[in-house]
């Protein structure tokens, strides 16, 4: 698989280059046996899949996540972009694997944690967002997470990172625009 970003007419028209091939394009490449595509998909979705497994499969999260990516490698050819987004397909796969893991675990009594009672697993939106954040350049992701998750002002972020305020504003704008373009191109619009 080429390491060059695939052609993205809309992004080019808007003077903005999205972060590499889309998830759907990666799945197609994985189906054709591309290991680099699989590695990129793994990089993007590993945290989201691990979180989904943690909330759905509890103590067997590691086994669950490993099984999810094994199935992605084997079953990528079953992905059909006309039937839904790549994120939806991956989340469904993770849920199915977690369900199987839980079913096997029921054979032996285990203590039920509060998390297992409370968590219903991630929504598709959150699952997609987590993977989309992985596609941002590190500086853009950092400023967005500090602003939204840590409730820091842009001045505070600039101070803590040791960069000018204008740089933080620029990274934030570019990161948000990149996420919005990803959402429009391949997100949960339908």
């Amino acid at each position: 698989m080429s390491s060059q970003p695939l052609d993205r007419p809309r992004a080019q028209r808007e003077g903005f280059r999205a972060a590499g091939p889309s998830d759907a394009e990666l799945l197609v490449a994985v189906a054709a046996g591309s290991e680099p595509a699989f590695e990129e998909l793994h990089r993007r979705y590993r945290p989201a899949v691990e979180n989904a497994c943690r909330s759905l499969a509890g103590g067997d999260a590691d086994d669950c996540a490993q099984e999810v990516f094994t199935r992605i490698w084997r079953k990528a050819a079953l992905f059909d972009a006309a039937r839904g987004s790549a994120a939806a397909w991956l989340l469904t796969l993770a849920r199915n694997v977690a369900r199987n893991v839980r079913a096997k675990r029921r054979l032996t009594p285990i203590p039920v944690t509060e998390d297992a009672l409370i968590e219903e697993g991630p929504t598709l939106d959150r699952f997609w967002l987590e993977a989309a954040l992985e596609r941002l350049p590190p500086q853009e992701r950092t400023v967005i997470e500090l602003a939204y998750y840590d409730d820091r002002s842009q001045s505070e972020i600039a101070s803590s990172l040791g960069v000018p305020l204008g740089t933080v504003k620029g990274w934030t704008r570019r990161g948000l625009n990149r996420l919005a373009t990803l959402l429009g191109d391949e997100g949960q619009a339908t």
Binding site: I118, R126, Y149, T172, R174, A180, A189
Partner: protein, 192 residues
Amino acid sequence: MTHERAWERLPDLLHSREQPELLAHVSGCHACQRQLFLLGRVDRLLRQARPHSRHLRHQSVLRRRSVSLLATLAAAAAAAVVLLLFLPRVPGAHRVVLRTADGRAVARATIARADQSNVEVSLVARGMTRGGGDQFLLWAQPDKGAGATPVGRFMVDRSGSCRAHFNLPTGQHWTRLWVTPASDPAQVVAST
């Protein structure tokens, strides 16, 4: 202001609308309107994800149970809306969901071939906000080529609901739909 400059600065409108030059460009630029709509959704998604970030995970069990209960109720309500919106289904048709900036599904459209010259767009709206009146305009854009095309006007009832049917010419793959108040075509209220 150039389009590239406006595009770069669109995220600023999430926090302040007091930027007349930028707003003037956006009011006449469909691409910027759509991007601004998507930015609104991203902003909402990030805010919703916040309580689950690594820094805020250690909340009280009581609060988490309350959140879980609310989430369950919200999910049940959403499931009911989805059932209303998704049925009946036309085999072989292309279906899209139109959502508000906060991600709420307010309409579903089925796009199916009607005859040699037309595709039919069947719109089912539920819970459209009537802030700008009860008249709305449905717009469409093909995945390639032409720009925004007004599909037709529709009127919702007091609950913001309606069913409407429109025709579009064949020869294009109509993938993007959005709704604006009939009185303000620049204000996107829901989009695919």
